[in-house]
């Protein structure tokens, strides 16, 4: 019996202790007419050897591609130590650290994670993570509305990841929160601060500021943040954590810094794996800490005065507050954060900056070579970080299909979300790509355009 250790003798002794003659009797409180029949669509069990064969065949079917797609999930090198330590049973198979004395490993690690994320984002505090980048943004919107009190409207630029916008709408729409879209400039690919003048007389709880935005373009974050603060509107930064080794952190945007920073944690040591599990991060300024959703770890002392760590501010959470909680969230993405913390520790400030720089330099290199091809042109004229949109002279889906045949996933077709942009490809070359990989891409691309 897979994973069930009972011997016949054990079963007999246990039933005798209970005073029952069969295991079946233990289900006698369930009405007979509810008992299910056979599970017809569940196949018979496999041995580990058999399931290994099946899974290896299915994995082989999917194969390996050279990946140049970014669009919110990025292919970075993950040091071997990250997942070897993360999947140690003591991290992998432990529960939420409710019993602090028996969970100091996880709790201290989360405190270290909070320290790293607060510093990376330039904020005062970080929670212990949320589900993913998209839901972290939705939670930031809810948090802004809770703290603003008079407005339930959010200004959302069209340069925010289009799926994040959908997720935010799905989550907050039942709470009577309005999402107002702010357009971007077709030449620069970013929100022009002067274009917000038309919203000067309207009240918003928050503006969302992506950096870099979905096109890879750098927004004028200082001006946008100051515009928000002049109107007593909160500024929510949506950022790529790897970029923050290089770019000004949200906490330093404008005169006073953004109020909340959120984003997708995947680039910090989490494999792409078809979209999850990843983790969302959230950091904020001191005045918002009691509004932050999810778990938070605090440092304290034990009875002997020794330093230790506990879950804190639990009075915000669902298991205490029930219907009055700040959110229904109970898990964070503990194991993903374990990996990210080990990743950041292995890279350090210098290593993470090099990853960011090389990813940017590789994308620059690729773009410069592609732009030499007739009809291929960068769509936007603004500074960007490690990802950019290209206009193609041929249908993008055709080019992508041809590149795929050569083993290259050449980028993301922006028409899926921005049909008005025509044949436009979003492309990203991280530090994992060599000069030869980039050369191969360019060669195949020329062929594909013929």
């Amino acid at each position: 019996m897979p994973f069930i250790p009972h011997t016949q003798d054990d079963i007999a002794e246990m039933l005798a202790s209970i005073g029952s003659d069969s295991i079946e009797t233990l289900f006698d409180e369930i009405p007979d007419d509810l008992r299910s029949g056979r599970l017809n669509n569940v196949p018979p069990g496999l041995s580990e050897m058999e399931i290994s064969r099946l899974m290896m065949e299915r994995a082989a079917q999917d194969g390996f591609y050279q990946n140049f797609i970014g669009a919110g999930a990025y292919d970075h090198h993950i040091p071997a130590a990250v997942w070897q330590i993360t999947t140690r049973g003591e991290f992998y198979s432990s529960y939420t650290p409710y019993q602090a004395e028996a969970s100091q490993g996880t709790l201290q690690l989360l405190y270290e994670y909070q320290t790293m994320m607060a510093s990376l984002t330039g904020m005062d505090a970080s929670n212990a993570s949320l589900y993913d980048g998209a839901t972290a943004l939705a939670e930031a919107v809810l948090m802004a509305v809770r703290s603003h009190r008079s407005s339930r409207r959010i200004l959302m630029p069209q340069t925010v990841h289009p799926v994040y916008k959908k997720v935010v709408r799905a989550i907050v729409s039942n709470q009577k929160i309005d999402i107002v879209e702010a357009p971007f400039c077709a030449e620069s690919g970013r929100v022009l601060p002067e274009s917000l003048e038309k919203f000067d007389d309207e009240e918003f709880a928050a503006i969302v500021i992506p950096q870099p935005n979905f096109f890879g373009v750098l927004e004028q974050v200082n001006e946008l943040t100051d515009w928000a603060h002049r109107k007593k509107t909160l500024a929510i930064g949506v950022v790529n954590p790897v970029s923050l080794a290089l770019l000004t952190p949200p906490g330093e945007w404008g005169s006073n810094g953004a109020d909340i920073a959120v984003g997708e944690g995947q680039p910090l040591g989490i494999p792409l794996s078809s979209g999850g599990p990843y983790f969302g991060f959230m950091a904020c300024k001191n005045n918002l800490i009691r509004q932050i959703p999810g778990r938070i770890i605090g440092r304290t002392n034990d009875l002997d005065g020794k330093q230790g760590f506990v879950l804190t501010l639990q009075a915000r959470e669902q298991h205490i507050r029930r219907s009055k909680a700040t959110s229904n969230i109970c898990t964070n993405q503990g194991l993903m954060v374990t990996a990210a913390t080990i990743y950041m520790s292995l890279l350090g400030p210098d290593g993470l900056r090099r990853v960011a720089e090389h990813s940017h330099a590789n994308t620059m290199d690729l773009l410069q070579q592609l732009e030499k091809i007739s009809g291929v042109k960068k769509v936007f004229n603004s500074p960007f970080f490690h990802e950019a949109a290209l206009k193609l002279p041929k249908p993008v889906n055709l080019v992508l299909a041809r590149m795929k045949e050569k083993g290259i996933l050449a980028g993301f077709d922006l028409q899926a979300f921005y049909p008005e942009m025509g044949d436009t490809l979003l492309v990203c070359a991280t530090e994992t790509k060599t000069a030869a990989d980039i050369q191969n891409y360019v060669t195949q691309f020329e062929q594909a355009l013929k």
Binding site: P5, Y92, T248, D302, Q318
Partner: protein, 483 residues
């Protein structure tokens, strides 16, 4: 010591990042960070040693018995991890074309079909990333269903007082008012309270069955009739599905929407608090509202079903498709168990719980619902002990840590005073359960002979009892170099 305290300026790992410098050409100075972030400057070995040592300060299923009620801490087979981490699965970009992921999509499709059969529901979406998100999505579908019928006055969700805190918190997030109903002496939902609570405002009832009191709701069919006749829908919180896996299908009990905690019943790892995964299942009338994406199959080719095909879908609740890696682990687990193994899960989880309940009763502990069968879990109440000796459920929980056992769930459900909710899970042997009973007996003796020993527990952990009040009053959430 914190990782930051191991650091020395200028120390770095030459093999883990590009060694050459690269240009940041094209990024104007105004966008660049001026001060480097506070990440530790440590060697690779420092990191490995530090986090290995931290891991050793944790209890885990791999190292201890973990009878945490309503959390189903069963063994997490290593094969599930190893095979979900095959390099092709890990390397696949979420936006890669469907035809480069047919192997992965086949696993997802098979998992949907298996979960349909096990739950008796008409459709499954694997998208929700945790139990609480599964609940949110389930309640959103209830709302979307009523709204699609122009039934806008249904503003209330009924929740039993024994429910998880996520139930009421979720209903509020969906814009509903929560109506709480009481439990009767036998641990069932009070049917009269339910009858009094339903009406034209009822959108639905959220129910966990077996309940968090460790008993099967015997009147579930009657409850289903009452709620449906009032025009409401029935929501099944799958937190305790392990107790009835293969024995009862939520669909047969009349439920319209369910979520399944894969990190409980399907043995995906808890990971120190996530990632979870909580597929939702629906009855036929709710099919149009399922969250996207999910997988369909036509002539052996798998593809994503999106908003295009399902315009009434409540939409997307994550950036991609949910926690794919967790879903793969669950898939491998169900294939290892197979049809017969699935039935045995509920059987042996129930056998273990009833055996442990019987033994603890004989040892002198008070069982909260002594006339009932245990489901896969049961409640011991220490109210009497507390009244006589001052020793609380939390004291006993901490003392168990000293004896090498993780504590059961304490103070939940809130309606039983000084409670311990104990769930042994099917993967534990009789010998482990016996050792736990021995430890509980020892503690009972200690409570009589030297209660202070129990009140001041734990004594053998890396730390003694921690000061929660100080943590909340003098917030220290980040390390600071000069503090």
């Amino acid at each position: 010591m914190l990782i930051f305290e191991h650091a020395r300026p200028g120390r770095r790992n030459y093999s883990q990042a590009p060694t050459t410098t690269a240009s940041t050409e094209g990024i104007p100075d105004q966008f660049l960070r001026k001060k480097q972030p506070l990440l530790p400057e440590v060697s690779e070995m420092d990191t490995v040693r530090h986090y290995t040592r931290l891991s050793q300060k944790n209890f885990s299923i791999d190292t201890e018995f973990y009878p945490l009620g309503s959390c189903t801490m069963k063994y997490n087979p290593r094969a599930c991890n190893a095979l979900a981490m095959l390099p092709q699965f890990l390397g696949r970009h979420p936006l890669a074309p469907e035809d480069t992921g047919q192997g992965f999509l086949a696993c997802m499709y098979d998992l949907q079909e298996i979960l349909k059969d096990v739950t008796g529901m008409a459709g499954i979406s694997l998208a929700p990333m945790a139990g609480a998100q599964g609940e949110l999505i389930g309640v959103m579908m209830i709302r979307a269903y009523h709204e699609s019928r122009g039934d806008h006055d249904r503003t209330e969700i009924i929740v039993p007082d024994a429910a998880h805190g996520t139930n009421p918190a979720t209903a509020v997030m969906c814009g509903f008012k929560v109506v709480e109903i009481a439990t009767d002496k036998e641990g069932n939902v009070d049917l009269n309270a339910l009858k009094a609570a339903v009406g034209p405002k009822t959108a639905g009832l959220m129910l966990t069955n077996p309940s968090t009191l460790g008993v099967f709701e015997e009147n579930v069919t009657e409850m289903s009739r009452i709620v449906h006749e009032a025009g409401g829908l029935l929501y099944y919180d799958g937190a305790n599905l392990n107790a009835v896996l293969g024995k009862v299908k939520p669909g047969d009990m009349g439920f319209d929407v369910i979520h399944i905690n894969l990190h409980k019943t399907f043995s995906t790892p808890h990971g120190g608090g996530g990632p979870g995964s909580a597929p939702v299942g629906v009855a036929k009338r709710l099919l149009p509202f399922l969250p996207v994406p999910f997988v369909s199959s036509e002539n052996g080719t798998y593809s994503w079903v999106t908003e295009k095909e399902r315009p009434q879908s409540i939409g997307r609740l994550s950036a991609h498709m949910g926690n794919a890696g967790v879903l793969l682990r669950a898939y491998i687990y169900v294939r290892l168990l197979g049809r017969d193994g699935m039935n045995r899960v509920a059987e042996f989880a129930t056998l273990n719980a009833n055996y442990l309940m019987a033994e603890l009763k004989k040892a002198g502990f008070e069982i909260a619902f002594p006339t009932r069968r245990a489901s896969h879990e049961f409640i011991v109440t220490l109210k009497d002990i507390k009244d006589k000796t001052g020793v609380t459920a939390m004291n006993l929980a901490k003392r168990l840590l000293d004896k090498g056992f993780h504590a059961p769930t304490t103070y939940f459900p809130i309606l039983v005073p000084e409670c311990l909710l104990i769930e042994p899970a099917e993967t534990e042997s009789k010998q482990t359960l016996d050792a736990f009973v021995t430890a509980m007996k020892e503690i009972l003796a200690e409570i009589k002979e030297q209660p202070d020993l129990v009140k001041n527990a734990p004594h053998t952990m890396p730390l003694r009892k921690l000061d929660d009040v100080k943590a909340a009053r003098e917030l220290d959430l980040c390390w600071k170099p000069d503090a």
